[in-house]
């Protein structure tokens, strides 16, 4: 082992690795977006005016908003019990959050297909019990995409929410109770506002995750409700227009960069407090 004389040398391998394998190739992708098929900004013009691409952007934005809202609501309620429940409740909830978290996105999407597809468990039961005569279409549409994404993202929202809830001073809640506020009022007017920075942070994380989502929408959307990430895949591999795929990637990267800058600004004062 050669003797290390300067600690700065420790930084070089990973930084060099990232620059070579990530930063430079990303510049290459950005170069595609302004050179394929011809030099100029035509691909960005297409991306921002073409009705098909615009409708995909709009759908992506709408699905991400719905998914973020549903994920935060569901995650908040389950995290509440994870942090403030009895010992047994905490243990059970922890398992319910951690087990899905460690299971691959493919397996989880497959689980939803098994549950929701036309020959899936829900439709089979509903038909056997006589609730339905025709199977209900629950996947290969936007509903399936939203269910799958919310399921994937709940654990990711639970971790920041839990740390926000653990920071709440119990005595404030007791004081509110002592002054005669009902349970509901303590929750809505004391507990939720005190965890608001955590909610905002978790919402931003979930939204950023949802924006770049590819696997779940591709499997549960069945090609019918295409989102931005899947559009990139289609433009690279199925009906090739590499320039457009690259341009959409750059737009997506800029959007996520902007949101993360917002997250940093939001996180800093909280950390300083």
């Amino acid at each position: 082992m050669p003797r290390l004389s300067r600690p700065a040398l420790l930084l070089v391998p990973l930084l060099g690795f990232m620059v070579l394998t990530y930063l430079v190739p990303f510049l290459g992708v950005a170069a595609w977006s302004v050179t394929l098929p011809e030099p100029g900004l035509t691909q960005y013009q297409t991306a921002l005016t073409d009705p098909l691409v615009l409708s995909v952007f709009l759908r992506t934005f709408r699905i991400c908003l719905i998914v973020t809202f549903a994920t935060i609501c569901a995650s908040y309620m389950i995290t509440l019990l994870w942090v403030r429940g009895s010992r047994m409740q905490r243990l059970v909830i922890e398992l319910c959050i951690l087990i899905p978290f460690w299971i691959s996105v493919l397996t989880r999407a497959f689980g939803w297909l098994a549950l929701l597809s036309n020959k899936g468990i829900l439709n089979t039961w509903a038909q056997n019990l006589g609730f339905l005569t025709e199977p209900l279409t629950l996947v290969r549409n936007e509903f399936g995409v939203i269910v799958g994404m919310v399921h994937f993202l709940i654990p990711f929202a639970a971790f920041p929410l839990a740390s926000a809830m653990r920071a709440v001073d119990e005595r404030v809640l007791l004081a509110a109770r002592g002054m005669g506020a009902s349970r509901t009022r303590v929750f809505a007017q004391v507990f939720v506002p005190m965890t608001a920075p955590g909610i905002l942070g978790a919402a931003l994380v979930v939204f950023v995750f949802a924006l770049g989502f590819f696997v779940t929408p591709a499997l549960l959307g069945g090609g019918r409700s295409v989102m931005a990430a899947e559009l990139i895949y289609l433009r690279i591999f199925q009906s090739p227009n590499w320039g457009l795929g690259a341009a959409i990637s750059v737009i997506l990267m800029v959007a996520v960069g902007g949101l993360l800058a917002l997250l940093m600004r939001q996180a800093r004062p909280a950390g300083a407090r």
């Binding site: 290459g28 922890e94 087990i99 297909l113 997506l252």
Partner: protein, 269 residues
Amino acid sequence: MITRPGLLAVCVAALVAVFLLMPLIAVIPVSFTPTRYLSMPDGEWSLRHYQALIDNPAWAKGLGLSIGIGVVSAVLATSLALAFSLGIWILQPRFAGLLLGIALLPMVAPPVVSALTLYFFLITLSKFNDFVAYDTWAGVALAHSVMIAPYAVVLITVALAQVDRRIDLAARGMGATLGRRIRQVILPSIRFGVLSALLLTFVLSWEEIGVTLFITSVDAVTLPRLMWMGLRDNIDPAIAAISVLLIGIVVIVILGKTLWLGSSEAKAK
């Protein structure tokens, strides 16, 4: 704790918990269906899809490839991340934020953008060699290393934040060289952080699909890639069988860890 959640809150949380577990439980009966397509077993249960996992050599090949790529990329990513995090911890450079930003880039960028970037990288490499290239195991291992290294940086940096700087200063004051400080003072205090980084990066590579989809086609077919092919068009119930096995492993590991070590919260107290 005195202000416990009320009955309503418990019921809503229970519903969410059911929602979280439902799709994982749903794959179990489906994996025993006797038919060739996705359906519930109708009275008759069969093990044919588990048999198919053994009979079709593609599954064993995918398994071997995924383990190999996971080990190589986890070791590479964790080594690079370890050196980097040590460098940041020792130097505390003023521009540490910027350096960390570069190191964490693949973690925060949208996965599909990373996938396209690595696709560009590997098809460019393909023009110069056949080993580290598009649709080769070495290419996939390299791309996975890029994607998982940031997670190792985070875990090791967190472990380093708990090391008492004065111990290192004492070693330095007594004349220990940098290599010796790292090997005999710092590394022993962060060995659990490094081990968990190795484990996490292996798992992340093991289940990586977003990037893998862009950089492989027919030769470097990892286990997730194989599952993707069985899910995309006609759903193959063999996917249910493999899913049950994968879920089983996760449940056993998590249950074992939680019951053995106690929940993370009990530890915190």
